[in-house]
């Protein structure tokens, strides 16, 4: 009745809660050939498309591997808690864990450096998109191998743009102009979809849009073509929400509100894509992998009518899309004798053949150049060559979401505070100021300065 069990209760709620729920699969071992050779591998995975595909084709996968694959799929928050808990065990419960790009900063202390394996196994690492590969490179260590890294990019309806005689929008100014022109031009058509929901969704929007306006949310060191995410020091932790760039970002988002579909204040990952898919908006910010939602759905209105651009640049910003998504890593409390096996499985799961295989089942991500030119893959997932081109042109980067342990707090504070501004409960200036204050307090609390 009372709150004695608050903690455990919340944990339970969390465990139940996280969408996509929890599932664990363990089936009889298949034949003794292939990479597993009769052995069992345990993977702690995220409920994102690539691992969902693995769940779907689990039987085939085990047959190919010749062993048992135990795939524990968790929601985002629970996965993070499990990874952190597992790191405190003497012996890891998992051979492989899935790591989100911005999490490397938090996890780097307990992941195995894979550089030696890459070298000895002769993995063609240059085939990976550079941003993806280097996203896992911290403190001169290769901490993960990209399995589903994809950028948040910009999708727009070619047909609508041509009809209205609009240029593909490469700047925020063009986006706003196009949004204004198209918003309401057809029944039920809004200008643009994006993550406006409170908390993490909006927090991520802010970090990424601020990035395409030219600055990360904390004062990282500027380097050639971007910012140094591989070497974030305490003095880099100062938040920059009272910068001019932040104001420009805020003004842009406030403008976007005018051309957004109803319910934008509660719109997040899948919903924006679904609204876009059914023709509810002319443009959308989108994690490229999620384009499968309409590209693979014959009933979707947007199917085959979409072209892609990197994040439109702000007045003083760059056309740079944020790389995110998942890597496979080996926890350093995994006994030595299992690491070779873990590596072999990693190598296999990230091979070009497997990447092509995943695209067959609804995962439009291919962080390898060799896969991106596969005609069948491109036919299934038109977004892949666009992403590949962006990767080649250096239009994909990871620094927008700094890989620091406080990243989730950053998302939460930005996503909560700026929601006040979007909802009209507070002015954008005040919201930014409050966000700055809270971020500052968080950093001080964590002892950075």
């Amino acid at each position: 009745m009372h709150f004695e069990n608050k903690q455990s209760w919340i944990k339970k709620a969390a465990a139940m809660a996280v969408a996509g729920a929890v599932s664990s699969i363990a089936v009889a071992p298949a034949s003794a050939e292939g990479v597993l050779n009769g052995e069992t591998i345990r993977i702690l995975a995220i409920g994102d498309p690539v691992f969902q595909v693995m769940q779907r084709i689990h039987g085939d996968l085990e047959e190919m591997a010749g062993g048992t694959i135990e795939l524990d799929v968790r929601g985002f928050d629970v996965l993070r808690q499990q990874v952190l808990l597992n790191a405190q065990n003497d012996v890891s419960n998992y051979d492989l864990i899935s790591v989100d790009l911005p999490q490397f900063g938090e996890y780097k202390g307990f992941l195995v450096d894979l550089a030696g394996y890459v070298e000895s196994s002769g993995m063609d690492w240059q085939d990976f998109h550079e941003a993806a590969w280097t996203g896992a490179y911290h403190d001169q260590m290769q901490l993960g191998i990209p399995i589903q890294p994809h950028p948040e990019i910009f999708a727009y309806r070619v047909d609508l743009f041509e009809e209205a005689g609009l240029e593909p929008p490469r700047t925020t100014e063009q986006v706003l102009a196009a949004a204004k022109a198209l918003h309401g031009s057809k029944d039920g058509l809004s200008g643009i979809c994006w993550n406006g929901a409170r908390g993490t969704p909006l927090g991520q929007t802010i970090t990424m849009v601020m990035g395409s306006h030219g600055l990360p949310v904390i004062a990282m060191d500027a380097i050639e073509g971007g910012f140094d995410l591989g070497n974030v020091r305490p003095e880099n932790m100062h938040p920059q929400m009272e910068s001019d760039t932040a104001s420009e970002m805020a003004a842009y988002l406030m403008e976007l509100m005018k051309f957004s579909p109803p319910g934008i204040l509660n719109m997040a990952w899948d919903e924006r894509v679904r609204v876009f898919a059914q023709g509810g908006c002319a443009m959308t910010y989108i994690w490229s992998g999620r384009s499968a939602i309409y590209e693979l759905d014959e009933d979707a209105e947007a199917r085959g009518k979409v072209s892609y651009l990197p994040h439109p640049a702000g007045p003083n910003g760059l056309n740079v899309s944020t790389l995110g998504g998942w890597f496979l890593s080996i926890p350093d409390n995994l006994p030595e004798d299992r690491r070779d096996l873990a590596w072999s499985v990693t190598e296999w799961l990230t091979s070009p053949e497997m990447m092509a295989e995943y695209t067959k089942h609804g995962n439009c991500v291919a962080p390898r150049h060799s896969v991106s030119v596969d005609e069948e893959v491109v036919a299934r997932c038109p977004v892949i060559p666009f992403v590949d081109a962006m990767a080649t042109n250096g239009e994909i980067a990871g620094w927008q979401r700094p890989p620091v342990p406080e990243i989730q707090q950053i998302f939460d504070i930005l996503g909560a505070e700026f929601h006040e501004a979007l909802a009209g409960a507070e002015s954008p200036e005040d919201a930014l100021k409050e966000a700055q204050r809270q971020l500052d307090r968080t950093m001080r609390r964590a002892g950075y300065y």
Binding site: F3, K6, L265, N266, D412, R441
Partner: protein, 292 residues
């Protein structure tokens, strides 16, 4: 004397397992939460650093915490009010002896069986402005879409509605059982005293139901104070924090930001708040004071 001491020792030995269980299940987590709340500890980053009352101080100055307390209070007030009024009315309705009423009653309590998280998902889609059934109907009727989950003034009430959907049947069930157990003779006495239906309701029925009413209200208050699933599924605290109830803020700080010390301080404060409230409620409104 010796005999009694011996007896007491045996008695203690007999109840010690249950004491252990209570300590393990109830006392230990509280003490542990208090312990954590006195430390700066971010999960996964080293050992807890002792911080005294720093977390509580920050809580005191944290506007978001204060807002969450207010939002929680608002939510609890409106949810319990709605659930009670409607549940109570339904209990009377279902008390009418008509064929098929029993079946109808069974159907009416179904929402209780639904997992809150599922209820949240269902209502999220019902209220959604792009795919939602309710907004679709509203547009069919020629009205503007309503931002059930995005309008500053509406969102909290949408959550209240979803909560009421799930828990009104519970109130109905308890009140129905209470109604069924009312002594019939007393109503004849009321008839002898010339009370009409309205007067009988207010002067006899309500007072006799009072213990049940108080218990069901208390249960709903405590339970709705802990509600998190609907916010998790429907709004994540938005728009602009208008639905950020305390448990959700606690979840965000404790399980997303993993700022365990701060979250524990919040949990402990929450526990104190609820304890004080329930004690006040019990002593002021007085269940059990009346009958003995």
């Amino acid at each position: 004397m010796k005999y009694f001491r011996e007896k007491r020792r045996i008695a203690f030995a007999m109840i010690s397992p249950s004491i252990l269980v209570i300590v393990a299940i109830n006392i230990f987590p509280i003490l542990f939460a208090v312990y954590i709340s006195l430390h700066l500890w971010s999960f996964g980053r080293g050992v807890p650093r002792f911080a005294g009352f720093l977390n509580y101080e920050e809580l005191y100055y944290d506007g978001r915490f204060g807002d969450a307390v207010l939002t929680s209070a608002k939510f609890v007030f409106f949810a319990v009010l709605l659930e009670f009024v409607v549940g109570f009315a339904l209990a009377f309705l279902f008390n009418v002896k008509v064929r098929g009423m029993a079946t109808l009653r069974q159907i009416a309590v179904l929402p209780i069986m639904v997992m809150p998280i599922v209820a949240g998902l269902v209502w999220f889609y019902m209220f959604n402005e792009n795919f939602g059934v309710i907004n679709w109907l509203i547009t069919l009727l020629g009205s503007e879409k309503v931002g059930f989950l995005t309008d500053l003034d509406v969102a909290l009430f949408s959550i209240v509605l979803a909560d009421a959907w799930q828990w009104t049947p519970f109130v109905m069930l308890v009140m129905f059982a209470a109604l069924q157990s009312l002594p019939e003779y007393v109503y004849e006495a009321a008839k002898m005293d010339g009370l009409n239906a309205w007067q009988t309701f207010w002067r006899v029925t309500i007072p006799m139901l009072r213990p049940s009413i108080m218990i069901v209200i208390l249960l709903r208050i405590v339970d709705s104070f802990k509600m998190i699933e609907l916010v998790f599924m429907m709004t994540q605290g938005g728009p602009a924090g208008r639905t950020e109830v305390l448990p959700w803020y606690l979840y965000v700080t404790g399980f997303q930001a993993l700022d365990l010390g701060f979250a524990a301080a919040m949990a402990v404060s929450m526990l104190i708040l609820v304890t004080i409230f329930t004690q006040l409620f019990l002593s002021r409104v007085g269940i059990g004071n009346d009958n003995k």
